[in-house]
Symmetry: C2
Subunit: 576 residues, 2 copies
């Protein structure tokens, strides 16, 4: 393509509202333009990269035996009411009425639609298993759209749904998708990890998120540098280091002792007042679950993980207990403790197991109890994992210290089970003619988010550095002076040769200053730049590799062979 007539509106300045690198670069390189908050147009270069990602996704989904289809964005409200999500989904689900006043949702996801289709078309075990997918536009009215394509309101997604007869069938379908995702993100050139995630209380069992590692990621990943363990913070588990040495052996036989701690109600205040570490304190958090108060215990330096807690509570929502509620228990806010509160449910995080000489609230204003020995004083406790893993904890699998990273969720695989097949009535008859609900899995890739994540991992101060597999063009051919007939003639020859050899070439044939062209080439960031300048008379061009920055001269005869080597060793997969 000749750049002169292509719509590639590069910007020298960073747009004011763009916060993260990928957003800034996609605007500056003319890949996208915002139409409204969280809603973007893909300009020609941006669409090319997006289409290359789509091709990779299609190839791997097809190779995994999934069948592509395409569902509408307009969903009749009846389907979402049948699944119960019309009310649950909240304002993120965009809704409208047609000319007859019938309600529709703009599809945020397609479980309802696909389950309805499968319900109508698949009745027998003979037609199972089947995995169906689509690459389609989704709508979610995010409260706070931001970071360009990373959190948009209209975005491109690949969503797949598997339908099986048995749990083991689902396990196979799930593994097949998991492996396909692994190949997809690898081919896209992403640095990513598949992490265990929380499957929530609803039906599902296994679920993994595929996280592209990036400092601006909104998710925290906990992973072990030694073994394969990786999970998001919601789900991650670890082993706290042995309690600190401040447990004084001499106090082991002391009984709990009430100490006056005037106006000292936070962990920080208490550790300063008593000159102990927070690890010596047991936090007591009073919550209310379906109208019933519950006390949650964890070590003073730990933070509660609300999702783990919710799961332990059987999926029930909870709120903090009010001061009045605490008073009614016979305690005082800021001074709650697990001793001396009759008839209240107490659940404890594993972090307090075996604590000695610990400090707890005395259920009396301005007082705490010291010298508490958990195993002696807090009998019959139920222990669960209720805390966020913190830096310094060790891997439960191999014992190595865990690492923390930030990630962008680019994919998600989920064992749905029978939630939708039951609510929408999708069942199959087995060999004996008995009706069973179909067992489902769902698998999403944020296709447009992948594009942003790739850029977030591949740039420098001069611009984007595209991986070979998704670059909009392979080669940027740059003619320094298009008025120079020798340069123009040589450029034309090179353009024809490379195009005929199957490379996609953007030819900068613009009448611009060389500096502008070089800057734009770095900003656009295609893997290889070939510059036709003064040495065109000698049939010599300059070659620059965007990623390594290496620059060298080639004769025109060498170019084709060089490209072949360069793109092969770059691990480039074929795309149109």
């Amino acid at each position: 393509m000749r750049q002169q007539r292509m719509l590639i509106p590069t910007l020298r300045d960073v747009p004011g509202d763009a916060e993260v690198a990928s957003h800034k670069l996609m605007l500056r390189a003319g890949l996208i333009r915002q139409l409204s908050s969280g809603i973007y147009s893909y300009l020609p270069l941006g669409l090319k990269a997006l289409q290359h990602i789509q091709t990779i996704v299609r190839e791997e989904m097809d190779a995994a035996g999934a069948q592509e289809m395409l569902m509408p964005a307009l969903h009749p409200s009846e389907l979402w009411k049948a699944s119960g999500r019309w009310d649950v989904y909240g304002p993120e689900l965009m809704r409208l009425e047609d000319r007859h006043g019938r309600e529709f949702a703009l599809g945020a996801t397609h479980e309802e639609v696909i389950t309805t289709i499968v319900k109508d078309e698949i009745q027998s075990y003979k037609k199972l298993p089947v995995t169906l997918y689509q690459i389609q536009t989704k709508y979610r009215d995010e409260r706070r759209p931001r970071f360009g394509l990373l959190r948009g309101r209209e975005f491109l997604m690949k969503d797949a749904y598997s339908f099986d007869r048995s749990q083991s069938g689902l396990d196979e379908s799930y593994e097949s998708m998991y492996n396909a995702y692994d190949r997809i993100f690898t081919r896209c050139g992403l640095n990513f990890r598949a992490v265990e995630a929380d499957s929530g209380a609803i039906g599902g069992t296994d679920t993994h998120e595929f996280m592209a590692l990036a400092d601006i990621g909104e998710d925290t990943i906990v992973h072990c540098p030694s073994c394969h363990y990786a999970a998001n913070l919601e789900k991650a588990v670890g082993q706290l280091p042995a309690a600190s040495a401040s447990s004084k052996q001499s106090d082991l036989n002391a009984k709990p002792q009430k100490v006056h701690t005037p106006q000292v109600s936070s962990i920080k205040q208490l550790s300063e007042f008593l000159q102990i570490s927070p690890e010596q304190i047991i936090k007591s958090i009073a919550i209310e679950v379906n109208g019933t108060p519950v006390i949650v215990l964890l070590r003073g330096d730990c933070e509660i993980n609300e999702i783990k807690l919710k799961n332990v509570l059987g999926g029930s929502e909870f709120t903090m207990l009010s001061e009045a509620g605490i008073h009614k228990l016979g305690s005082v806010a800021g001074f709650i403790g697990p001793l001396g509160l009759p008839n209240i449910k107490i659940i404890a995080d594993t972090s307090i197991i075996g604590m000695q000489n610990a400090v707890i609230g005395a259920n009396e204003a301005d007082y705490h109890l010291t010298h508490v020995h958990v195993e002696r004083d807090l009998v019959d406790l139920t222990y669960d994992d209720l805390r966020n893993v913190t830096e310094g904890e060790h891997c439960l699998t191999c014992g190595h210290e865990l690492s923390f990273a930030k990630g962008i969720e680019v994919g998600h695989v989920f064992k749905l089970g029978t939630k939708y097949s039951r609510s929408l009535g999708a069942s199959f008859s087995d060999e004996n003619g008995a009706a069973e609900p179909i067992i489902m899995g769902c698998y999403g890739i944020g296709v447009s988010r992948v594009l942003a994540a790739i850029i977030e991992q591949n740039y420098d101060e001069r611009g984007i550095i595209w991986p070979d597999s998704v670059t909009p063009f392979d080669v940027h051919l740059l003619t320094v002076h298009v008025q120079d007939e020798i340069q123009l003639k040589l450029s034309t020859e090179i353009y024809k040769t490379l195009t005929a050899a199957g490379y996609s070439v953007l030819w900068d044939d613009r009448e611009e200053r060389p500096g502008v062209k070089f800057n734009d080439a770095d900003l656009l960031g295609f893997p290889l730049r070939i510059t036709v300048g003064k040495k065109a008379v000698e049939h010599i061009v300059e070659c620059k590799e965007r990623r390594s920055g290496d620059q060298y001269e080639l004769t025109t005869e060498q170019i084709a062979a060089h490209c072949q080597t360069f793109f092969q060793t770059g691990g480039r997969s074929s795309h149109e």
Copy 2:
């Protein structure tokens, strides 16, 4: 692909609500399923055909120098208000509010969005011309969705927009798109005509519709079998045959004469009462335009063409004049005539030029005037083409009798001019730095409608007959008895050979009765069916061409060469 596990839910019975062949067949062959009125899912086979059409469209658009991009479906209402279409578009434009109460339209078309992008990104004549296109989902809340994909509410469209500096530039861009459309529809295997269409009163000049000929088409096409003339009925012009012989020469000198025609107010009644043909009568139609009455004259056997009339009125809407309004003119409904009404504008269709001995209303209840000679009695008339062409008229270009046909509009090219660039402020600076509005064209193809139109033209009583260029699969490989090891082994070999040779093959490996398989194969309608049956032991298969119905035996060695010949001579273009 193995059919056993593919979602191809064929139906034996014709679904009740499907009226036209393409709709019935797309349901029966498992290509689509309805989700809601005018809203469809594409199942795997339907999507494959749709994607082949998309590939053809892309290839030809790219070859014509158009650049692909992708715009959102959610359009902020401000843009549509700026163009004036928020109010004009009516209930066909689907609208919604986001969580903050901001109004959006679901894009029915993208002039507003693309013009805004070009306004922001193109300021100089140096960047022009440019043609941009997308293949994207459109939303139009049709009052009466019907005929399956032919008139849907959510559908796939290719829309392109050209931006030029000058009218001659627009002419070139238009011609380039026109020619691309010609190639696209030819490659899709459609029997179509490009017809002149009405461009409306707004700015535009030229416009052509691409019509797939089909009896169920909702548009009427007038075309000349002798020369290239073709237009839709809105726009078509013709030459009426010479007035019938009932003009009596002996009456040529007679003056207009008032005759009593009691309660005779329609053309039919009048021609019966006076025993003359309708061709002898001049119809007078009283309308009201912006509050002013106007009389329209045309020959009794002709029908008014409201679009032509509106254009002649400068684009103004008109209504029929009320009885009260007619009375106020000094006339009576049913007896209006052009003589004796002072101070009223009269416009005449060319059909009355030179009429003699004509009959007109006398502007008096129960009376008409006979012996009216148009050129003598109705002086200072303005003549325009205001009527629908009727069967029997002759071509204005070559004189041959015109033919009529029904068509499905599959494409539309339109010279927009500056309507949107002016209302949205998209201008460029020319060589002298002067700002000029960009001159636009727009070009649409109903991609999903093309799919339906192809089937509407290619089927028989047994099922679909796919053109080679868009067929979901090239070859249907059918194993009569999959339990037979010899048949299974030979089928596997053939499947591998053909797939390796680049053909897409659907392999019917289902355990079904042979009759079911043969019926499904005819219904699905891929170009070539290869049946592996009893003669598998002799390495002989049966080959059936879906279109011709020809059946013959081949040895396995002959298959590859036969496919090569078959698909080459079938004019098959390459697709993945």
